[in-house]
Amino acid sequence: MASEFYLEVITPERTFFQGNVEMIIVDSLDGELGVMKGHLPMVASIAIGTLKIKQNGKWKEAAINEGFMEVLPDRTIILSHTVEWPEEIDTRRAQAALERAQERIRQRRSMTEYYQSKAAMARAMSRLKVKKRYNLD
């Protein structure tokens, strides 16, 4: 049995997850980042993408917005604005958001808006990705 560590995933509107887990994998700014028990103390940024949690030998996945995590040897805290389980994701809404963002990018407005649209697009795509994978299982 792999050793476990305590994980808390917190958003401004709820506590998304808390409990002992074996491993987590998040998307960081420069690629995937895995954390297991005994990791050295670290603060890491989290990019828009998926959060994978291994608990009792099973992997679970959630769509996560930008955020950051604080890793200590025996516990990890993830703070993000939104985290959603696949069953909470509204495919139609995500699809609409994706199309809206793509349309905004096509219109080539200011640089700030470009970044915002790209972020919106990434969020929508990560939601759709998680949802799709979950439905195939």
Partner: protein, 288 residues
């Protein structure tokens, strides 16, 4: 002795007021329960994001980042959260006077961003430069609004329109204890977090992934949004709590007044009857 009609009219007037305060009490308590749900969901995040940032500051001696550098001849700005309406006891008074005394201690106060009509009127009366852009957030604090507010505050700071920013709000300590608080948002310093206790004192040096700069670039805006949202929610919950208590007291006072007036009314009525009987008796005696 007042006349019967007069007392009756007063009782009627007080009854009407009582109905009003009773209704406001009910409205406030239903709004409060909704606000408390939001508060309970949020306060963990609010405390955690502050303690995480404190943790990072405590373990990283030298951070070179524009949000951490104090500027000279600072133009100070305040972000004050109060209510839209009165009739909520000392809630507005407490938070506004906490803000005012803090403002008067500092020179170079340029801007005051306000949430709530009461706050706006108060600072205009005191002759300050009031920015009422965020007025709308008092009634319905949502995460969406806080993001907008935080983005504007961060923009004002990074464009050097303001150099220091304080947040004044009401912290809900418990259901009967509401404390006005001042938090320094910018520049971020360790001393801003004196009231935050670290739940874990970890002495090893932190590693930042991918780099301290990248992490802080991401963390600071999240921190500001989180704190603004938390402060809005707690202020809103405090306001409803204060209004509920104030209206409850008002209703009780009205009940007391009505019962006193009722006794007065009964006495007056009694004496009118006694008078009448006395007159009749007098008339009968005169006939005999």
């Amino acid at each position: 002795m007042q006349s019967l009609v007069e007392i009756k009219r007063r009782i009627g007037a007080i009854r009407q007021t009582r109905q009003l305060t009773k209704a406001m009490h009910l409205i406030a308590s239903s709004k409060l329960s909704r606000a408390m749900d939001k508060y309970r969901a949020n306060h963990i995040y609010f405390d955690k994001i502050r303690s995480t940032l404190k943790d990072i500051l405590a373990h990283t001696p030298e951070i070179n980042h524009s949000f951490f550098r104090p500027r000279e001849n600072a133009r100070i700005a305040y972000f004050v959260i109060a209510g839209d309406k009165g009739l909520c006891g000392a809630y507005n008074h407490n938070v506004l006077h906490t803000a005012l005394s803090h403002i008067e201690e500092h020179e170079g106060v340029k801007n005051i961003f306000v949430v709530g009509n009461v706050a706006r009127d108060f600072f205009i009366r005191k002759g300050y430069n009031v920015d009422a852009e965020f007025l709308y957030a008092a009634q319905n604090p949502t995460f969406f609004y806080s993001r907008e507010i935080a983005e504007q505050l961060i923009k004002a700071y990074s464009q050097h329109k303001i150099d220091e920013l304080y947040l004044v709000y009401t912290r809900l300590e418990s259901s009967i204890k509401m404390i006005p608080k001042v938090i320094k948002l910018f520049p971020v310093e360790l001393s801003n977090f004196e009231d935050v206790s670290l739940d874990l004192e970890y002495r090893a040096d932190m590693v930042y992934h991918p780099s301290p700069r990248a992490v802080l670039d991401l963390l600071i805006p999240k921190f500001v949004i989180g704190v603004v949202y938390g402060a809005l929610i707690q202020s809103f919950a405090s306001e409803q709590q204060a209004r509920m208590l104030a209206m409850d007291t008002a209703t009780k006072n009205a009940d007391e007044m009505i019962s006193k007036l009722q006794i007065k009314y009964n006495q007056a009525r009694q004496s009118v009857i006694t008078n009448e009987i006395a007159e009749i008796m007098g008339g009968v005696a005169a006939l005999d």
